[in-house]
């Protein structure tokens, strides 16, 4: 089996983001960037499947500016075999991302495509499902457990009510939840080895897909601030405040 894993470069999850004063977006210059956290789970799961002898090749792909390659390099360091970097100059919407991925899938013919369930920058939670629709493949979103069987996957999904298990035929798209696994760290020798693994560069404009934005971002602003609260000295005072001041109990 061949697994294609899509990874995205985003502002690191520990960074407190700042909104630009002109309302055009958030500050990304000189801000620490890293791989979107659930995309790390997607890579880890692919590597585990390969280690179990159920996959032959893992291809990591990212779409973005020049530096987005870092995320592919990181995937190569934890076990992906080769990389693809589709270059775009601007931020593109999930619909455009899924159209690009469809082109790559048609070229690479993977059996499975893995990615994180959501990117923590735009919080859209769309790309995997859109790609599945465009390919007319089944989708298993928010996966917290994946069992590879003969030509099918049994996937446990995290849903509001608890857990749901579905079976999807291969080829399939899986979007990964944070509890799917514990992503490993790359060892230094593997980081060195990863530098020798190939990353193919493709210009998005050569793929012949419409990636123009359909959504105008009119402004980005800070959310309203909560007014500062108080510290109470004791549990008695807390209960009294909740009862008589906030009137919530």
């Amino acid at each position: 089996m061949k697994i294609l894993v899509a990874v995205k470069r985003v502002i690191d999850y520990n960074v407190q983001i700042r909104v630009k004063e002109d309302g055009s977006g958030v500050v990304t210059d000189n801000v620490k960037m890293s791989t979107n956290p659930p995309d790390d789970n997607a890579i880890e799961e692919a590597v585990k499947i390969k280690e179990a002898g159920k996959a032959k090749e893992i291809v990591a792909i990212t779409i973005g500016e020049e530096k987005a390659q870092e995320t592919v390099r990181k995937a190569l360091a934890v076990g992906a075999d080769r990389g693809i970097h589709v270059k775009v100059d601007n931020v593109i919407e999930p619909l455009a991302v899924s159209k690009i991925l469809k082109k790559i899938v048609e070229k690479e013919n993977p059996d499975l495509v893995f990615m994180g369930k959501q990117a923590i920058d735009d919080d859209c939670n769309q790309t995997g499902q859109m790609l599945a629709a465009l390919l007319n493949w089944p989708q298993a979103t928010f996966a917290s457990k994946i069992e590879v069987k003969d030509n099918v996957l049994e996937v446990t999904r995290e849903i509001d009510e608890g857990l749901e298990t579905i079976e999807v035929n291969v080829p399939a798209i899986v979007t990964c939840d944070l509890r799917l696994n514990e992503p490993r760290y790359a060892s230094l020798p593997n980081i060195m080895k990863a530098k020798k693994k190939p990353i193919e560069q493709i210009n998005a404009s050569d793929l012949g897909v419409d990636i123009n934005p359909r959504i105008e971002q009119i402004k980005v602003e800070e959310p309203p601030k909560r007014k500062a609260g108080i510290k109470v000295a004791s549990v008695e005072e807390l209960v009294q405040k909740l009862k008589n001041e906030a009137k919530v109990i």
Binding site: V26, D123, D160, I166, A172, R179, I215
Partner: protein, 317 residues
């Protein structure tokens, strides 16, 4: 211009967030129709026809819709989409799984998780775990929108009498099979709609200690939440997780116990009306959003909290 809302239900009852989505959808346009895809879900169709904001219910009854799969739902929805300017659903795991599949087939760039309807094409939505709000305008002809349910009140459930029309199913997908659902049954209110939520974090130290939380939840008729750290550590099941990747809650009272307040947790609760933080680390970020902070050891504070509650003559339920 009409809006088609996809109902979430279990063939017997409407799932509660559908009512919040109805409120938002009717702000986009008053001509709101609801699509019920189910098996023997007549009660669901009837309930929704009684919602005053609903103008029409389209009911498709077939065994392929007994268990929801995005694949089966999508082909039916796309069939009906032609007559509508907007396709909407709630932005919980139901709608998040479903809507992008529809949007891609309609060649529409979806607007996810809106918290405000500004006009029929312009919406407010949180990005970066709610640390920024983006105003976005969709230029697609047909719009696919998911609605953050906790940002809208639930619609009235009675007083209306919309017509119910029957429609035919679409072709079933053979590539996805539902196997099972493990629902966590509880007598407590649902986390997403509870008036009071009490949540525990890593500070709880283990799953048994959540009893301290559940005793108070019983007393206050509250739902129980948890931080991702507590869920990852195995103290409590995932359906309790509050945060960017868990549930977003907006209760009247949110009590965070032993939760430091990571960005991703705050994203799920900071819109709550009143926030209480109990933590022994006075520098914990959770205190920056708390209306009432108590710097204390939770293992002393929680039993005291319960005994103080027991002293009260009345407690609002």
């Amino acid at each position: 211009m009409s809006v088609l809302l996809i109902a979430e239900h279990n063939n017997k009852e409407v799932r509660p967030f559908t009512y919040n989505a109805i409120t938002a959808a009717s702000k986009i346009n008053e001509d709101l129709h609801i699509l019920v895809l189910g098996h023997q879900a007549d009660d669901v169709a009837k309930s929704l026809s009684e919602v005053p904001n609903v103008k029409k219910v389209i009911h498709v009854d077939n065994e392929i819709y007994e268990n929801y799969t995005a694949e089966n739902y999508t082909s039916a929805i796309v069939k009906h989409a032609e007559n509508y300017s907007h396709i909407v659903s709630s932005a919980n795991t139901f709608g998040k799984n479903l809507m992008p599949r529809i949007a891609a087939l309609l060649d529409t760039s979806q607007v996810s998780d809106i918290i405000k309807v500004i006009s029929e094409d312009t919406f407010l939505r949180p990005i970066y775990a709610g640390n920024a709000f983006a105003t976005v305008k969709s230029n697609d002809k047909k719009k696919c929108v998911t609605i953050r349910p906790t940002s809208f009140d639930a619609a009235d459930k009675s007083g209306g009498s919309a017509e119910i029309t029957k429609s035919d199913p679409a072709e079933a997908s053979l590539s996805t099979k539902f196997l099972k659902k493990e629902e966590v049954k509880s007598d407590r209110p649902e986390l997403g709609t509870a008036r009071i939520v009490i949540s525990g974090g890593r500070g709880m130290q283990n799953g048994e200690n959540f009893k301290l939380i559940s005793d108070i939840a019983d007393k206050l008729n509250a739902a129980i939440g948890a931080s991702r750290a507590a869920v990852d550590a195995g103290y409590i099941t995932n359906d309790h997780q509050v945060g960017q990747t868990g549930k977003v809650v907006v209760p009247d009272l949110y009590i965070a116990v032993g939760i430091s307040g990571a960005i991703q947790h705050l994203a799920g609760m900071k819109e709550s009306k009143v926030i209480v933080a109990i933590n022994k680390d006075g520098e914990a970020p959770i205190f920056s959003v708390a209306d009432y902070g108590l710097e204390a050891d939770l293992f002393e504070a929680l039993p005291q909290f319960l005994s103080e509650l027991n002293k009260l003559n009345t407690i609002q339920k």
